[in-house]
């Protein structure tokens, strides 16, 4: 079964604020019974101060849907509506000490219920801008709808393009077959043919980060930390790695010792890249420093 954090289990086994608030003056209902989770959030809001006095949830859903609902009610109690609107799904997931990628949508549902409830209180109509498809990339929790939209909007042609724009496919690479299938389908709709060897589209725009993006300094520090933690195992194989430069999301490294030029170098680099992405939660490209001269000009322009 899922590897749920202790926090998820705690909120699932002992949910807080279960049930409807009796004299609620705000209700948000979201989810889809066909997808197997649906949530009704009821709030009691103080009319003078707009402070959320009470929050209650009723959820049809799995362990993480119930835990997300429970933790959401805890987070927002005592907040003003404006404060509550700033709560993101990442906040919900963080409070739960993380959710498996397949379950991130449970936290999204929580945030949407909150927005719907506040809109209901204010007499506005809440429109959901969120459409969800089958989960394609488990490393980065990217679904089919998101990839399709990106392929359409940015005229993407290759798996590498999709990775550059959405992160999907940039980790373990197991989802590449599914990404190719999406490319084939969308390109066919546009009357084009998928060519796995097509040249990548031009300068990828910055990936819209969910979290506040790291500053370059923070990024470099973090990369250093991760490399440091990997160093012992590299040295056990008689090699080492050195960070040369970080430009945008690309880290240029020197592989030394036994790793330099050995047939494992490419694999080692891929391994380092995946580890970096896991730790930093953003797309990082690791490139041998020898490649830097070719790329540095392009990057400098963008």
């Amino acid at each position: 079964m899922w590897d749920y954090s202790d926090k998820v289990k705690e909120h699932f086994f002992n949910p807080k604020n279960a049930g409807a608030v009796v004299d609620a003056n705000a209700t948000g209902e979201v989810g889809s019974i066909s997808c197997g989770d649906a949530l009704r959030l009821t709030l009691k809001v103080d009319d003078a101060t707009e402070v959320i006095l009470e929050a209650g949830f009723q959820t049809f859903g799995c362990g993480s849907a119930i835990a997300s609902s429970s933790v959401l009610t805890e987070i927002i109690k005592g907040m003003t509506l404006d404060e509550a609107l700033k709560v993101t799904n990442q906040d919900i997931a963080d409070q739960l000490e993380g959710l498996p990628p397949e379950k991130m949508h449970c936290s999204v549902m929580g945030r949407e219920a909150l927005q719907a409830a506040i809109a209901n209180y204010r007499g506005e109509e809440w429109k959901d801008d969120h459409e969800e498809g089958a989960l394609i990339c488990k490393c980065f929790a990217i679904d089919a709808v998101m990839i399709e939209e990106m392929v359409w909007a940015n005229k993407l042609r290759t798996v590498q393009d999709v990775t550059n724009f959405t992160k999907a496919g940039g980790g373990c690479a197991a989802c590449h077959e599914d990404i190719e299938a999406i490319l084939e389908k969308v390109l066919a709709e546009k009357g084009e043919k998928f060519d796995p060897n097509a040249a990548p589209v031009e300068t990828p725009v910055k990936i819209a980060a969910v979290k506040a993006p790291l500053t370059n300094l923070q990024r470099i520090k973090k990369i250093e930390q991760v490399l440091e933690s990997l160093r012992p195992s590299l040295m056990a194989d008689g090699g080492d790695v050195e960070l040369v430069e970080v430009i945008g999301n690309t880290a240029y490294v020197n592989m030394t010792g036994a790793c330099n030029g050995c047939q494992m170098a490419a694999m080692t680099i891929a391994g380092i890249q995946q580890r970096l992405m896991e730790v930093m939660g953003e797309f990082i490209k690791v490139v041998p420093a020898t490649e830097m001269a070719k790329l540095v000009n392009i990057e400098a322009v963008s």
Partner: protein
């Protein structure tokens, strides 16, 4: 209280006697069966015996009709790919909407390659319509692949009859019998079934060993070519210990087949009756009168399966669910959708599957905790009226969240 395992359709505990039979093939008779020395001379004999033990369980005419593979999935893939390679002019395949992914994913893939896949629908009780099946049989069909018993509901399909019909139309017939072998008696030599898949880990043998039964004379193309193992029909050094283990497991399954259909069935029936009598708004899915003796699949309305499993797990009880959330997909199980079970129930299905290791007192234990678990989750459900302890009136209308 020790933990209660009611997930035997997912996989089973390896029987102690099976482990004991295997150990010499790791530690003493570990030679390659093709070699000529004393580390190997007992291996060929062990494999031959295993072949006969499998033969006895499934009742086929010759032991050379048994091909050992690495799992049920490999047997399924081998069967279908063999049929289409051996008959390159035939571009249609008949199967059902409720097969295991081991068949459905392959068919989806072949569909992209240009094959026409006919997926027979089922009715609300999970049954096929043989009239519409008959209409599909033609010279264009390379193979029919229909499961003997469904892994989720335990519903048994009339494969012997369907094989007769295919045979009369000159069409090859394969059955995925992974869930049926060892649970219901079979005598393949009296049928027109051309190919059959089985998997060791569903009948108390280890994981990673399977069999493809191939009727003598059936046109065949191997999936793995290489050495001469399995008479060139499945190359690769034999997994001798597991083959011997599977043989022993088949021998035991034959011994216990009556027990399975009396005692194991009695446990299943008692659990099923107890749950449906005590808990309102739940129902058994599938064909109640034509089912594996060990399986019951119960839909608990207005609550979600994974939540039920987590609470069961906390109580030390292992079962499984056809809900979307357990698999990480968005849709509930394709089997529940095929039977047109409403979403409010399809997401709340729990499968309890027994084996000869279970006991009646375990059944009582489950009956003790199940009502509480369902009540706890219903209290959280937007479809449930906690005050009246009943579903809200018109549940599907009363709660209609924003996006669908």
């Amino acid at each position: 209280m020790t933990d209660i395992y009611l997930d035997n359709n997912a996989t089973t505990k390896v029987d102690r006697a099976v482990v004991d039979a295997m150990i010499p093939y790791f530690l003493e008779q570990y030679g390659n069966p093709s070699s000529i020395h004393k580390f190997a001379d007992g291996v060929a004999r062990g494999i031959k015996q295993a072949r006969q033990q499998v033969q006895n369980l499934i009742g086929c005419e010759h032991d050379s009709e048994i091909i050992f593979t690495s799992c049920g999935t490999e047997s399924n893939s081998t069967a279908i790919l063999s049929a289409i390679k051996a008959q390159p002019n035939k571009k249609e395949i008949i199967t059902t909407t409720v097969e295991h992914p081991a068949i459905l994913s392959l068919c989806e893939y072949l569909e992209k390659e240009g094959y026409t896949i006919h997926r027979l629908p089922v009715d609300k009780a999970g049954r096929l319509n043989l009239e519409s099946y008959k209409k599909l049989l033609s010279d264009e069909v390379a193979i029919v692949s229909v499961m003997w018993a469904n892994n989720e509901t335990g519903t048994i399909f009339p494969v012997a009859e369907m094989a007769e019909m295919a045979n009369a139309a000159g069409v090859m017939f394969h059955t995925d019998a992974v869930q049926a072998v060892g649970k219901i008696p079979m005598m393949l030599q009296d049928t027109k079934i051309d190919m059959l898949s089985l998997s060791g880990h569903k009948l108390h043998a280890p994981k990673g060993i399977g069999v493809l039964y191939l009727r003598r004379g059936t046109r065949y193309r191997p999936l793995l070519r290489g050495g001469h193992q399995e008479r060139g029909r499945r190359a690769g050094t034999e997994n001798s210990a597991s083959i011997v283990g599977l043989g022993k497991a088949c021998e035991l399954a034959l011994e216990f087949i009556e027990y399975e259909n009396t005692k194991v069935k009695a446990m299943r029936d008692r659990l099923e009756r107890g749950i449906t009598e005590q808990i309102p708004h739940c129902f058994v899915t599938g064909d109640l009168y034509n089912r594996l003796p060990n399986t019951t699949d119960i839909a608990f309305e207005y609550i979600e399966g994974e939540s039920i499993l987590m609470l069961l797990n906390k109580a030390g009880i292992a079962a499984s669910s056809g809900s979307a959330c357990t698999s990480g997909s968005l849709e509930p199980s394709h089997v529940m959708r095929a039977m047109d079970i409403p979403y409010t129930a399809a997401h709340g299905t729990i499968r309890f599957s027994f084996s000869r290791y279970n006991t009646m007192s375990e059944v009582d234990e489950v009956l003790k905790v199940m009502p509480g678990i369902v009540a706890t989750l219903r209290k959280l459900s937007p479809y449930w009226d906690s005050i009246n302890n009943a579903p809200v009136t018109n549940p599907e209308q009363a709660f209609q969240p924003t996006y669908a």
